[in-house]
């Protein structure tokens, strides 16, 4: 059980939660995630640890409401408990390169850059965050992100804030020396479409790139193999070997295909939740 201490809307479908989870906060490291279950009979879903406060014993997670479980989560309020929360899972992110590190976030992904970029900056790297969204109002956590990096670059598809265009277009400009300049390393977290585009932008340019893969997961401990992805022609379990992998070695086609395995069932379940209220504390 993890009590929700703070709940804050970031966009109409994205919410930030600060939850009480002292044991996880104590051992959490950038790049790791938790698995939560919101109700009896509920699914286990993975969520990135956006930030942690070891002293306060809290974790920050940012959740986009896309289906059944994320919507149930959205029905919980401050003071309610998340039924199950386990972590930290996955390998802590190791950044072997020093220099100018560019983190790119899309959707909930921007949040996941918080603790990571802060740590890299403390280590002495030059840090840039490219935060992208469709329009100004969908850009999340600008103030917080500005506080953890040296350069914050905003991008919107419609030009309502910052650079007018996609994050990958801005990234290409940086690679050509514009703004904070060419990255020595790129880290991307967000929708598959975006991380795939980032991967293609840095391919062949001698810029090591890491992406966070988000396959379907159940246990998160290496027990089911449902999260398997192919990287460098080898099968890996994203929950224990990842979730970050060398972008240029990832078999994206397979990853995209496997994520669509339950589209029909997810739709069926989502339609039912639309007219069903979560009973808190149900067991």
């Amino acid at each position: 059980m993890a009590e929700i201490l703070e709940k804050r809307p970031l966009t109409p479908i994205t919410r930030l939660y600060r939850v009480d989870a002292p044991l996880v906060a104590k051992s959490a490291q950038p790049g790791q995630f938790v698995i939560v279950r919101v109700r009896d009979g509920g699914e286990r879903i993975p969520l990135t640890i956006a930030d942690y406060d070891r002293d306060a014993g809290t974790l920050t997670i940012v959740v986009q409401e896309v289906g059944t479980t994320t919507r149930y989560l959205g029905q919980l309020d401050v003071g309610d408990d998340i039924l199950d929360l386990v972590g930290p899972l996955g390998m802590p992110l190791e950044i072997p390169v020093k220099g100018h590190i560019v983190g790119i976030g899309g959707g909930f992904g921007a949040a996941a850059l918080l603790c990571l970029m802060r740590e890299l900056r403390q280590r002495g790297d030059t840090t840039t965050i490219i935060n992208g969204a469709r329009e100004k109002d969908l850009l999340i956590l600008n103030d917080e992100l500005a506080g953890v990096c040296d350069n914050l670059e905003l991008c919107t598809d419609d030009g309502s804030a910052g650079f007018h265009g996609l994050v990958t277009e801005r990234l290409a400009q940086l690679i050509d020396g514009d703004g904070p300049g060419r990255p020595d390393m790129v880290i991307a977290i967000g929708p598959m479409l975006m991380i795939r585009a980032v991967t293609e932008t840095t391919r062949g340019k001698d810029i090591p790139t890491l992406v966070s893969l988000d396959p379907l997961m159940i246990d998160g401990t290496g027990m089911c193999g449902g999260c398997r992805v192919t990287v460098d022609n080898e099968v890996k379990f994203a929950c224990v070997d990842g979730p970050f992998f060398d972008a240029h070695q990832v078999d994206f086609e397979e990853a995209v295909r496997r994520n669509k395995m339950y589209v029909r069932q997810e739709g069926e379940s989502k339609n039912r939740t639309a007219c069903r209220k979560l009973v808190v504390g149900q067991d």
Binding site: L23, V24, S27, R37, R39, G41, G42, E43, R44, T68, T69, L83, D84, L85, V86, G87, P88, L89, I218, D219, T221, G222, M223, C224, G225, G226, R228, T230, V235, V240, E254, R257, R258, K260, M261, Y262, Q265, E266, E268, S269, R272
Partner: protein
């Protein structure tokens, strides 16, 4: 007086056609009349060699004698002294290669139905009004148990009875290990497991789910700042193997662990009331022929497959599943492709499974394990059209704990190494048992290991207090 009867008293079972569409238990259990009728068959041998077949040496004739006399309480006490999980083992032990294989009347007749009787006594016990067990935790050293499978549960119970405060840490959101997420309801009803766990709680055992030792808490923290004096590792062998054949990552290919976990732990059979789905097409091929494979194929039928198939590269002679499960699978309409080795999973342009390319095998000379080695018959390739493939070809110990714990020795299969004939690992005050040490084995071996370890932990802690 013992009565000579050739046949075992049959186990009442639910109709095969009806049961293959639901999850209610297949075996209905003996009534008291069946049990006493069967108990009369035991000769109470001078030299009861049945006991030699039992890994924990249940005093078989003694408890059966009490059943015959009608003193079920006495029978239950005798049973529990050596086997802390009788309701589970009576259901899932491979009796035909253990106690019942040895039974002396088995030479000419069918052996005494030791497993059915064990189950009867344990079920009788569960029906009795709850006895107030009171926790009397008087020892000043506390013990941590990692993993809540049979090894961990039994070790915890024994130590609590010795007065130690015990905390079980379990990675998943519900305790039980394979008994929870692996073995299906129709073979091991979860209320049996829940009852055992309830008894542990009454004994004062604390169970903390959602804690992964090595991730949430390290072994050093457990034994350092958290103040545990000893640790028992019962983390099982939960890492699924894959064949490494082309097409294994197509949509519709599962490991048996994933398939069974979706149904047993996450209740996918109740989707969309429960939120986790499972994909089952019309035709499901399960690769392997152990207990896990039988559970998987029978589960597939229950969640809607029209054809459930076992594909195995050896013959039924080499199959490792319990005989009873094989029989039940046949009755429920499972199709068997013996001497058939899968070489590729085929898919359509969208990446969904359409078939399994196989090659026929014949049996050659025995291999290292003493079983005949299957060799491919040249030019015998053929395709079985299927919608799902589930791999059930074995599990290895999970490396999570080893990755983050210094000083724990393991062998080349990833199994924890213990000192000869004990449960001691290479770290002081850290003990281990069950599948984590032996590799995938049986419930009774895990339970037995948990019990032995509890005794050793007790001695270790006495020597240190």
């Amino acid at each position: 007086m013992p009565v000579k009867r050739v046949q075992k008293t049959p186990m009442p079972e639910r109709d095969a056609v009806l049961r293959s569409h639901d999850f209610k238990e297949v075996n209905e259990g003996y009534g008291i009349a069946h049990a006493q009728f069967e108990a009369e068959r035991c000769l109470r041998c001078q030299d009861p060699i049945c006991i030699d077949g039992c890994p924990v040496r249940v005093p078989i004739p003694e408890f059966i004698h009490q059943v015959a006399k009608g003193d079920m309480r006495a029978a239950a006490e005798i049973l529990r002294r050596s086997n802390p999980l009788p309701a589970v083992c009576g259901r899932v032990c491979p009796q035909e290669v253990q106690c019942e294989e040895q039974c002396s009347i088995g030479i000419r007749f069918k052996p005494v139905a030791i497993g059915y009787l064990e189950r009867f006594v344990a079920d009788w016990e569960m029906e009795q009004p709850a006895v107030e067990i009171r926790a009397n935790l008087h020892q000043d050293q506390k013990v941590a148990i990692v993993g809540s499978g049979p090894a961990g549960l039994v070790c915890a119970g024994e130590l609590a009875r010795l007065g130690y405060p015990v905390t079980i840490f379990e990675a998943l959101h519900a305790p039980g290990g394979v008994l929870r997420y692996g073995i299906p309801e129709f073979r091991l009803p979860k209320n049996v497991l829940d009852w055992e766990i309830e008894q542990l709680k009454k004994l004062g055992v604390e169970i903390q789910c959602n804690v992964i030792i090595g991730k949430t808490i390290t072994m050093d923290e457990l034994m350092g700042e958290m103040g545990f004096s000893a640790v028992f590792i019962g983390t099982g062998a939960g890492l699924p193997s894959f064949l490494g054949i082309p097409g294994e990552n197509l949509n519709g290919v599962y490991s048996a662990n994933e398939f069974l976990t979706r149904v047993n732990l996450m209740h996918a059979n109740d989707f969309p009331n429960a939120d986790t789905p499972v994909m089952v097409g019309r035709r499901v091929a399960v690769i392997g022929a152990g207990n896990t494979a039988m559970d998987t194929v029978r589960t597939a039928l229950r969640v809607g497959a029209e054809h459930g198939m076992i594909v195995y590269r050896r013959s039924d002679q080499e199959m490792t599943a319990r005989v009873e499960e094989h029989h039940h699978a046949i009755e429920e309409g499972v199709e068997f492709h013996w001497l058939t080795n899968p070489v590729e999973v085929l898919g359509d342009e969208d990446g969904w499974v359409t078939g399994l390319r196989c090659v026929r095998m014949e049996l050659g000379a025995p291999d290292d394990s003493g079983r005949a080695r299957p060799v491919p018959i040249e030019g015998s390739e053929f395709v079985i059209p299927v919608d799902n493939v589930v791999l059930s070809i074995g599990n290895k110990p999970n490396p999570l704990l080893l990755q983050t714990t210094k000083g724990l020795a393991s062998n080349k299969w990833g199994c924890l190494v213990v000192h000869d004939g004990t449960s001691e690992t290479s770290r002081d005050h850290v003990f281990a048992g069950g599948d984590a040490v032996t590799g995938a084995a049986t419930v009774i071996l895990a339970a037995g290991a948990g019990k032995t370890a509890a005794t050793e932990i007790h001695e270790d802690l006495r020597a240190n207090s």
